[in-house]
């Protein structure tokens, strides 16, 4: 499956990756090759097979509705780049 430069730009944007202009052609080729590899699956008859949500054949284990985590705010905020009045700070987000 051949990707275009615009596909690469879009994927990079969605993933918030800054890709250098001169690398775009490499990414276009590499990602197209990966998709070609996966495309081989299209030759297999899968009409009767249910899509797999998880490779493990076991159902989820649930936990009881109990509060088990206590307040570790100060501990967590030690590694945050910027905090104020208990809030994590990020560059201003304008809606």
């Amino acid at each position: 499956m051949l990707l275009h430069k615009s596909d690469i730009d879009k994927i990079a944007w969605l993933a918030r990756l800054a890709i250098a202009e001169h690398d775009v052609s490499n990414y276009t080729r590499d990602l197209s090759n990966i998709l070609d590899l996966v495309e081989q699956m299209d030759q297999v008859e899968t009409g009767e097979i249910e899509a797999m949500a998880h490779p493990l054949e076991i159902p989820a284990r649930l936990r009881p509705d109990e509060i088990t985590e206590n307040n570790q705010k100060d501990h967590f905020q030690q590694v945050a780049p910027a905090v104020k009045n208990g809030h994590y700070l990020v560059p201003k987000v304008i809606e």
């Binding site: 284990r61 985590e69 705010k73 967590f76 994590y88 560059p91």
Partner: protein, 483 residues
Amino acid sequence: MEWETVIGLEIHAQLATRSKIFSGAATVYGAEANVQACAVDLGLPGVLPVLNAKVVEMAIRFGLAVNAEIPSRSVFARKNYFYPDLPKGYQISQYEHPIVSKGRIDIKLEDGSTKTIGITRAHLEEDAGKSVHEGFGNFTGIDLNRAGTPLIEIVSEPDMRSAKEAVAYMKKIHSIVRYLEICDGNMQEGSFRCDANVSIRPKGQKEFGTRSELKNLNSFKFVELAINHEVERQIDILESGGKVIQETRLYDPNKNETRSMRSKEEANDYRYFPDPDLLPVEIDKETIERIRSTLPELPDAKKQRFMDEYRLSEYDSEILTANKDMAAYFEKAIQSADGEAKLCANWIMGDLSAVLNRENRDIMESPVTPEMLGGLILRIKDNTISSKIAKEIFEAMWDGEGDAGTIIEKKGLRQVTDAGAIEKLVDEVIVESPAQVEQYQNSTPEKQGKLIGYFVGQIMKKSQGKANPEQVNELLINKLKTD
């Protein structure tokens, strides 16, 4: 041209658990910023989400209450987008395999008819954190206490045809989640909120028009205002030859208008895929039946029972059962009022609701308990007091002056039913009002009916409202007869 409105709602109801959907952090509203955000909620490396059993049970309760199928298997998926209050860069939600599939509920329309609204699905997801844009200078403050709070998103079919129908549907869902005790329904705190998909089409056309999605509708009133406003906007566009664009619009209650949130960056591409951190949830038939057996009586069933058991009108029953607490209050009051259902209903929907609204209080916090109201109604029924005096006593009970019996004795409000005493008052008034007596006696019976009000008024005044009005009427009519 005549236009038809088409509306579908997406309701987010916060599930009333103690801990979060995928972590053991608390969910208490209004806590100091970030004290209820643990490593899982913060999306720190190496953590694993573990699903809260209560959340699954609550979702099943909801599904059963709206006559929905509960699939035996449901899967969590990642919805990918970047926003600072979503630390992982994705929201854990459900996509292809929601926990609740197709269901339906009935709503009551204004003309009294019933309409069935389809529910497409209901799925579980985690809430995001909160961004605070004021008070941090050039920064935005992030509070992640809400991150990971369990939500059930209830998606309706595009079955509603007016803002009023949308509100009726939303109120019904609100009533159901509160009956089920899976959501506190508090709209001010954001525990119950909705987005509306709105489009219009020429009446009679089968295909839907292009829709816009209205966000930020956190009250029943705003839902109605925002939808009506949006319909007007779309009609204006189409009638002036334009085209509606599919977009997300934000409702601004201060200006009563919607504005576009669309930007190139915001073009939705969520790239859902199954979350590899979470295994599929399997729900067996026994679990479903066990949960079904714990369901409470729901609003529709309760309404029907109120009509059958208490002989109330459909209108009264609808109002009394819309709120679970009001229905419980009513049934308690009846027990203390010797089965006087209609009087109890009138007092609860009238005087009690009025004062609760005025003071913005919940019926559970009413200083007049159902037992006290029942006691008051008994005193009306056995003629100890008139309905008029009862209102005075009700106010006194509200102000904490005790129960009806205490207030009647303390204030001497007992109704005068002694025929001799009433006759004395009637005679006095007749003697004092010769002109009115003459006018009365020279009038047609029809006019007399109106004129008698004057005499009754004077007598009630003399008795300070305590004379039994029926007795006064009867005596007066006899005494004023001319023959």
